[in-house]
Amino acid sequence: MRATHRPISDLVSALLSALLIGSFSPIPASAQETAKAGVRLAAAPKPAKGEGDKCVAPTEWMRRYHMTVLDHQRDKTVHTGVRAGPFDLKGCIACHVVEGSDGRAVTVADPKHFCRTCHDYAAVKVDCFECHASRPQEEQKSSHRSDEHDIAELAGYLKGKAP
């Protein structure tokens, strides 16, 4: 009974049709086809080897579950103060360090960073390093001023008197 002419419904139909037709356009069936079409697929990522002979858990397991263990660990650490355990983030970063061209460890800003090699490929944004340091703390002047004082005293003692 609706004799009304609804311009909006026309517009919607046109949009839907365009979408449907567009989605049926030919999809490249193989890499060669895509290569022929001039589209390059990204190569599989090759993350750098970490220190030591293996990770704290099997590689395939880690690939799937590292975020789960990190989420669990972070809640434990922040809310209950438990910092032990194989899955602490500082431990991960210490082993999975990648050296840059200047000899220093790279930060997450560098595509060579361990996390970025896979995450860039998978196009999954890594949120952790908004807050967390992405490389181990460098050897630098300590904030403990007392230590220089202590060492100077110790040196003086050793210089001055023999045991």
């Binding site: 970063i93 703390q137 002047k141 220089e148 060492i151 050793l158 045991p163």
Partner: protein, 266 residues
């Protein structure tokens, strides 16, 4: 004969030992990622030791309990007007910088100068998160990111902080800062990032390793010894004894928040 009693005399650092000083020095070099300094002991002899004088503690394996309640006692008669050691130490330890923009800079601790309106007497005191027992910031946080740990330390869980800044509105001490810019090279033990709120953590990473907050340590090192850190629940601790013996002041005590930070001789 080894004076040190820790086994082989070649492990000893004493320059009176019979082994080569260089070997001795090498053996002192324990595997660790921390910095080291060199000090000349005698001609051709160097002692390599760690800047980190404290023994590396095992990372904490047990959850914290309410058995302990950490607190700070600050004796203002010993707090010097022109001293900023606590502020500098906190800044170095936790990686925040006062870049000159007092409005947007992060500030976990600051020195406040108060002048009595009637008498004109002035006092200087450090003000940081007061680690209240009933924190208003914890009450108002919509996601529970602002929380109080079992041992009394009030923290921000930056994983679930959405950056709404309601806790900053709620804090009676202006203790919280919002991070207004992208940060780089944070300290691994003090993660902080753009868009979240932060405040004094009472150096929770140091407390969990059995140490004292950086500000307290710096105050001691500077010779003032105005700040005491300890367990308010332990009647034998120095802080509990002092609090029991002398009158102490909580800022905005009228709010009934039962702060963990107390001041003496205000």
């Amino acid at each position: 004969m080894s004076r040190c009693g820790i086994g082989n005399s070649t492990d000893c650092a004493c320059s009176g030992g019979s082994s080569s000083p260089v070997d001795t020095a090498r053996r002192l070099f324990l595997k660790s990622a921390t910095a080291f300094t060199t000090v000349a002991l005698a001609p051709n002899v160097t002692l390599m030791a760690f800047a980190e004088a404290h023994a590396a503690a095992q990372p904490r394996g047990e959850p914290v309990t309410a058995k302990q309640r950490w607190g700070l006692l600050i004796d203002l008669s010993k707090c010097a007007d022109d001293c900023n050691e606590c502020v500098s130490a906190c800044s170095r330890e936790n990686g925040w910088k006062a870049d000159g923009n007092s409005r947007t800079d992060a500030r976990w601790i600051r020195k406040v100068t108060i002048k009595n309106n009637k008498t004109g007497a002035t006092r200087s005191l450090p003000v940081m998160c007061q680690h209240c027992a009933s924190p208003p910031c914890v009450d108002v946080c919509p996601t529970g990111a602002s929380f109080k740990r079992a041992d009394g330390i009030v923290l921000v869980d930056k994983h679930i902080c959405i950056g709404c800044r309601y806790c900053m509105m709620a804090c009676p001490y202006q203790a919280r800062s919002f991070i207004h810019e992208t940060l780089e090279d944070q300290k691994p033990h003090a993660p902080r990032g753009k868009g979240t709120v932060e405040s004094c953590t009472l150096c929770v990473h140091r407390i969990d390793a059995g140490e004292t907050p950086a500000c307290v340590e710096a105050c001691v090192a500077a010779g003032h010894k105005a700040m005491i850190f300890g367990d308010l629940n332990d009647p034998a601790s120095e802080i509990s004894q002092r609090v029991a013996q002398f009158p102490t002041h909580q800022i905005r005590a009228d709010l009934g928040l039962d702060t963990g930070v107390r001041y003496q001789n205000l």
